[in-house]
């Protein structure tokens, strides 16, 4: 509004003041009229919130006509993105790590020092120019060059041959449909999730079998740490400000990176091929998610029995923030929150389902039919049934989904009767998939 020449006042709670200021800076406003209210404003009584208004109104009135910006310029703007600054430091490896941490250049885990020699070696893994800016990372709006992809990749444990994978991941995360800003500054426990398909799995040794999300998966872990180094160091989204995640998640250290176990996929078509890519193409798909939950089902023998236990897990995932009757082809809104889900089936579960469901489409349609919950289980204002439903009451079953494409199925992991469910982050608009360009 300010850019349109219309003055504004924003009321924010003291817990979110710093996030508000960081957001302003990132959109180019050096300062803004902010009225500070006591946290929280949500989930307090009507009397309390009216008292908050009474208390803050004099400030609202004052800022309406008298506010002047405390600063008119944003510091640090205008420096060229390439080459990156070289820093000299004398000390031990431990001291170097302390220096990196103190400057917000690490996540707290030890890093491999990005020396000019190491970065130059990493750059040999790509034909892209080191000066190319591949993403201006919010909320800090740091310019991520190919040179910095090499530096951050090296710090995370990646190797030169991983550069195309790192660059493909950046292309996914930077897509507007991913909503990186929202996912990395939310109070929620958001998790970046990447799924890798194609020949690159075996070429690079990407993990896709037993313990795919566990330790001793050097490529998955390096890529996962790289994602968070980009977000925290270049994007500046560190906790507690401006990353406001109430609990955070260990995925704030290493993002979730799955390879699909394509050989164990009974439906044969990989996730990427299902989305229209060629089997010869290596593809990275990604979305912002909430922490996943698991399905451990050793008992179901029939396909539908297993699908039913998965359905309750899907329906209950991210409770409190989900809407009913959601649609994949509809944008974000109170009536369309958490509009899709990924089901990461262990191969044994996939085999059990495949016996009676020879197509993934049939599985998706079954989930659309079965993923429903009573109206009373939805948070107030989030379930708005369509008029065609007619009269309903608190026990009326309300479907979470309406379209098969809202259910994404990937076969991954090793032996065992286990699967994982990752619900999408509300403002994430769709899955973004890109080809890994060598």
């Amino acid at each position: 509004m300010e850019e349109l020449g219309i003055p504004t006042i924003t009321v924010t709670t003291n817990a979110f003041l710093s996030l508000s200021r960081a957001t302003l800076t990132s959109i180019g406003l050096p300062d803004m009229a902010l009225v500070e209210a006591a946290h929280p404003m949500g989930m307090v009584s009507l009397e309390e919130i009216r008292a908050q208004a009474d208390k803050t109104f004099p400030e609202v009135l004052k800022l309406a006509t008298q506010w002047k910006p405390a600063r008119t310029e944003i510091p640090g703007v205008g420096k060229p993105p390439y080459p990156a600054e070289r820093v000299r430091f004398k000390g031990t490896y431990e001291a170097l790590n302390t220096m990196f941490y103190d400057r917000n250049w690490s996540l707290g885990l030890p890093i491999l020092p990005p020396t000019p020699e190491a970065v130059a070696a990493m750059l040999k893994g790509t034909s892209r120019k080191p000066e190319e800016v591949v993403w201006v990372v919010p909320p800090r709006m740091g310019q991520l060059t190919v040179e910095l992809v090499a530096a951050l990749g090296y710090m995370a444990g990646a190797r030169p041959e991983h550069m195309p994978l790192l660059l493909a991941a950046v292309k996914v995360l930077s897509h507007p449909d991913f909503d990186w800003r929202g996912a990395t500054t939310t109070t929620g426990c958001s998790v970046p999730v990447l799924v890798i398909n194609g020949p690159i799995l075996d070429e690079l040794g990407v993990g896709y079998s037993t313990g795919v999300l566990g330790g001793r998966q050097p490529v998955n872990i390096a890529l996962g740490v790289f994602v968070n180094l980009v977000g925290d160091i270049v994007g500046g989204s560190i906790q507690p400000d401006p990353d406001k995640s109430t609990h955070g998640t260990r995925a704030d250290l290493a993002a979730v990176v799955f390879g699909e176990n394509e050989k164990a996929n009974p439906w044969k078509q990989s996730y990427a091929v299902e989305k229209g890519f060629k089997p010869t193409e290596s593809v990275v798909s990604g979305f912002a998610a909430y922490n996943g939950n698991n399905n451990t089902d050793h008992s179901s023998v029939k396909s539908t029995e297993l699908l039913n236990t998965l359905a309750i897990g899907i329906t209950g995932a991210a409770s409190g923030v989900t809407s009913c009757f959601t649609r994949y082809d509809k944008g974000y809104g109170n009536d369309n929150k958490v509009k899709y889900v990924f089901v990461f089936l262990g191969p044994e579960h996939a085999d059990t389902i495949y016996r009676e469901f020879p197509t993934k489409k049939a599985v998706q349609e079954y989930f659309v039919k079965k993923c429903a919950a009573p109206y009373w289980t939805y948070a107030p204002t989030l379930c708005t049934p369509p008029k065609e439903l007619g009269p309903y009451h608190e026990n009326t079953m309300m479907p979470r989904f309406t379209q098969a494409e809202q259910i994404h199925i990937v076969v991954t992991g090793g032996p065992g009767k286990q699967s994982l469910i990752f619900p999408s982050f509300p403002t994430n608009n769709r899955v973004v998939s890109v080809v890994v360009e060598k």
Binding site: G5, L29, P30, A64, T72, T92, P113, G142, T427
Partner: protein
């Protein structure tokens, strides 16, 4: 969760080592060395925006109240509207969330933010007050 500085303990140990006349050794007896590293943070790219000038007075002006759907934001703004009616009765207060329910949302995208901004601009406001709540 960003962990507390895990290297602080190392720093304390290093200071102790220095006190014991081992000025160049780390915990494992590692010698200090000269490092040259790349600053991985990158420079920032932000196109500056000049804040809009404030009106000299609110008398006779149009004030739009914008609610982003967060709990109690509407209740807060409803009370603010009442206070404006008492204190600045000549001002015209428009509750956007009552006249266009499609704007009751956190936008989720630049495109949607621009759309909502367009709706507000169409009301020709002299001031917009938004509640973030949470």
């Amino acid at each position: 969760m960003r962990p507390k500085n895990p290297y602080r303990v190392f720093g304390v140990a290093a200071l102790l080592a220095a006190f014991l006349a081992l000025p160049v050794a780390g915990l494992a007896g590692e010698a200090a060395q000269e490092w040259e590293v790349i600053n991985p943070a990158g420079t920032i790219a932000i196109k500056g925006i000049n804040p809009a000038p404030r009106p000299a007075t609110l008398d006779g002006k149009t004030i739009v109240l914008r609610w982003n759907s967060k709990h109690n934001g509407d209740n807060y703004l409803n009370r603010i509207a009442e206070l404006f009616a008492e204190k600045v009765p000549s001002a015209r207060v428009v509750k956007l969330y009552e006249i266009d329910k499609s704007t009751i949302r956190t936008s989720g995208s630049n495109q949607e933010s621009a759309r909502i901004a367009g709706v507000i601009k169409g009301l020709k406001p002299d001031l917009v007050i938004g509640s973030q709540a949470d």
